[in-house]
């Protein structure tokens, strides 16, 4: 039931790692969620899908890796800076 709180915290962490003007360019937010973390993954995913497609984000999607233990962390962000591939 507390997945929305977790999702909002995930968004705060993402916002702390990317300059405000680039938040709309975030395309992926990678998370690790342990089986003992006390988190319902489907519900968390739903909350994140809503939050990550609303301002200040543009159209990012959550990518949740299920792991063992009580791990609950944001592992990476992917940002599309719009430049063509080198």
């Amino acid at each position: 039931m507390h997945e929305m709180s977790i999702a909002m915290e995930v968004c705060s962490i993402a916002e702390a790692h990317v300059p405000p003007e680039q938040l709309t360019s975030v395309v992926e937010v990678g998370l690790e969620v342990g089986d003992q973390a006390g988190v319902e993954v489907d519900s968390l995913e739903f909350c994140l899908e809503v939050l990550l497609t609303s301002p200040p984000f543009g159209n990012a999607k959550p990518v949740i890796e299920r792991v063992t233990g009580d791990v609950l962390r944001v592992s990476y962000l992917e940002v599309d800076d719009g430049r063509p591939d080198d």
Binding site: E9, H17, A37, G38, R73, E78, V79, G82
Partner: protein
């Protein structure tokens, strides 16, 4: 398109845990132990606190922070037994208290003139287990009207708790609840659990509970 990856590797609960550390520091400065009471709804948290305030309130200055989803009912009940020090956090639907709410509530508590703090969490055996509130210990209430398998169903809450208080012991003769089975299930998920066996209605077992609380207060003062 050029996609770059930013390594984050940051724990989601990191911010809460920082705030919990602030709570712990604040309480330690004033040498006040805080206990986080957790349980399913209706297990008797408020009644145990009412009786504790009534009978121990003359000897210890007790502050209570209550978390209620939608009402002030628990705070209203408790405020009958103490003219101050009851802080209500209405969570507006949230299923747990977090460390930020405790830090804010403690601003209103005169810690210099407080011996003991109770946090009455939202009745829920799932979510409050995940939030460190800066308490000295979590205490889980386990009423005899529940199933003996509660610890197996909600292991995290029993693992996170240091003490389990059995409540409604006066009803035991009328129930099929098997105490030995319940204790065994609780110890299976957390071998370090200590137990209390209480009835807040008859007062049975409360002497041990009060002695424990007074001991914790004395220990915090010596720290």
């Amino acid at each position: 398109m050029a996609v770059r990856t930013i390594e984050v590797r940051e724990r989601v609960m990191a911010r809460n845990d920082e705030l919990a550390a602030d709570v712990r520091r604040l309480l330690a400065e004033h040498r006040v132990p805080a206990f986080n009471l957790v349980s399913s709804p209706g297990s008797g948290k408020t009644l145990l606190l009412e009786r504790t305030l009534q009978e121990l309130g003359g000897r210890l200055r007790i502050a209570v922070i209550t978390g209620d989803v939608q009402t002030q009912n628990d705070a209203d009940r408790l405020s009958r037994y103490t003219d101050r020090l009851v802080q209500a956090v209405v969570t507006g639907g949230a299923c747990h208290l977090d460390a930020r709410q405790i830090l804010t509530a403690l601003e209103e508590v005169d810690l210099a003139n407080t011996d003991l703090v109770f946090i009455e969490n939202v009745g829920n055996l799932v979510c409050p287990a995940s939030w460190d509130l800066g308490e000295a210990a979590k205490i889980v209430l386990f009423s005899t009207t529940e199933g003996e398998d509660k610890p197996a169903k909600y292991p995290k809450m029993f693992q996170q708790s240091s003490y389990a208080v059995f409540t409604k012991m006066d009803l035991l003769p009328h129930l099929t609840f098997e105490m030995e089975k319940a204790k065994a299930q609780a110890l299976e998920v957390n071998p370090d659990l200590s137990f209390f066996f209480t009835s807040a209605r008859t007062g049975d077992g409360l002497d041990e509970w009060y002695a424990f609380l007074e001991g914790q207060v004395a220990e915090a003062r010596r720290a």
